[in-house]
Each structure stands twice: as C-alpha cells, then as structure tokens.
C-alpha cells in the first residue's frame, strides 16, 4: 500500500511482537544512542587538544548528579547492546540460532545483575554532597 518505508518499519515493529523483534529494536536504538554518545564524548574529550584548563572546564560541566543519572542509562545501553551483539553473533558464528530465546533470557539476567552492580557503584555520584565544592 504505502510506499513510505519509514512507516513500513514502524508497522513491522507493531506487527511483530516477539523476542526477536524486541531485541532487534533494543539493539538498534541503543546502537544509535551509543553512536550519538560517542560524538558527544569525542566533543568533550577533544577539549584536551586545547589544553588542560579547557579539558577540566568541560569535564567539570558533565560531572554532577544529573549526568550521573544519564551515565546509568549510558551504561545500560552499553550492556544491552553488548550482550545482544554477543547473542546475534553466537547465532551466526556457531549456529546457535535455535537457542536465541534462551540466550535472550540468559543475557537479560546478566544484564540485570550488571545493572545492580552499576547502580551500587554510581550511587555516591547521585548525591550532590559527595562532589568536591567549587570543582
């Protein structure tokens, strides 16, 4: 019917409610998210080219509780993308395609375990009181 391919993509997402499609979307969205983060990260870090002060200034701007929350999302994205990347690589390389659903649940458990550790470790950064005054 419609020749609009973007519409087709969205329709596919709606019509295929299953683990394969779900993890494909997670993978894609986290992939895009990470790519965008990579650009921002490069922008922040590249201030090192202009010297130590510039670097510390920019780094200081992104180290606060708000960015700590974003950091949790970033790390969640990395883990999801990484674990799922492993899942589809295993399917292609080792022919484990029939087990993809089981692998999905295994990586889901690993993901949640990793996220608990992550949140525990980032916990101090969520409290403004822990930041050195004046930065």
């Amino acid at each position: 019917m419609s020749n609009n391919k973007l519409q087709e993509t969205i329709r596919d997402a709606a019509l295929n409610k299953n683990i394969g499609s779900f993890s494909y979307w997670l993978h894609r969205l986290t992939g895009i998210g990470l790519a965008v983060y990579l650009l921002m990260h490069t922008f922040v870090l590249s201030s090192a080219i202009s010297g130590e002060t510039a670097f510390n200034e920019r780094m200081g701007a992104v180290q606060n509780p708000f960015f700590a929350v974003l950091e949790i999302f970033l790390i969640a994205g990395v883990f999801i993308h990484m674990l799922n990347g492993l899942r589809i690589t295993l399917a292609d390389f080792f022919g484990w395609s029939r087990m993809h659903k089981s692998i999905f649940w295994i990586i889901a458990i690993i993901f949640f375990a990793l996220m608990i550790i992550t949140i525990l470790l980032i916990w101090p950064k969520l409290n403004p009181a822990n930041y050195p005054v004046g930065g």
Binding site: L39, T42, A48, D92, L121
Partner: protein, 120 residues
C-alpha cells in the same frame, strides 16, 4: 576455477562483529576505570591529571586507546550506515552518503588521536 564474488558486504559484516567483540572487551575495562570504579568521594572529579596518570601507568593503555578509537569509530559509523542502507536508495545517493561517512570517520579518528596525544 575460483568463482568471482563481490565481497565488500562480507568484510564490513565481519568487521562489524569483530570490532563489536573487541569493543565489548574494551568497554568493560574502560567503564570500570573511568565510570564505575572511579570513586569521587576519595579520588575527586575526573580531570586532566587523573586521566593522564591513569594512561601513563603502562604502555599497554596507550596501545589500547589508539586501537580503540578506529575500532569504535568504524563500528559506530558502519552501524549507522547499516541502518541507512536498509532503506534501499538510488546508487548515487548511496555513494554520496557513503563518502560523507568516510570523511566523517576520518575526522573523528584524527580528533581522537590528537585528543589522546594530548592526554599522554
């Protein structure tokens, strides 16, 4: 007689996975050092100095980060390209975008290398 094949899509596919596996290993370490096990209550904020001390701790890190930049840039841009390429478009447009991606990739890698150089 060997059969002819146009293997570009094979190599990009392969390298997307290899770089992915490499990144997986890399990112976990990188996250540990710079995002997770960096305790601001004892070590303070991440600064030029802390990064430099970290990187200087062994030659290993230098090699590591210099490899990391091209890998992640390739992986990210090739990944984005894969998404765009799903929406099959006319050949000329496709070549145009591909070229833009290559230029962008080169720019990112150069920026990355200069950044690293200044931090070492």
């Amino acid at each position: 007689m060997a059969v002819k094949i146009s293997s570009q899509s094979m190599w990009t596919w392969m390298f997307q996975r290899l770089s992915g596996l490499f990144l997986g290993f890399f990112l976990v370490t990188h996250l540990n050092v710079h995002h997770l096990f960096h305790d601001i209550t004892s070590a303070g904020l991440i600064s030029f100095e802390t990064v430099r001390t970290n990187l200087a701790s062994s030659g290993f890190w230098k090699v590591y980060y210099f490899l990391f930049v091209p890998f992640i840039v390739f992986h990210a841009l090739n990944g984005l390209w894969a998404i765009i390429a799903d929406y099959r478009m006319p050949g000329t447009l496709s070549i145009l975008i591909k070229t833009a991606f290559w230029i962008f990739a080169a720019a990112l890698i150069i920026t990355g290398f200069f950044t690293l150089k200044n931090l070492f």
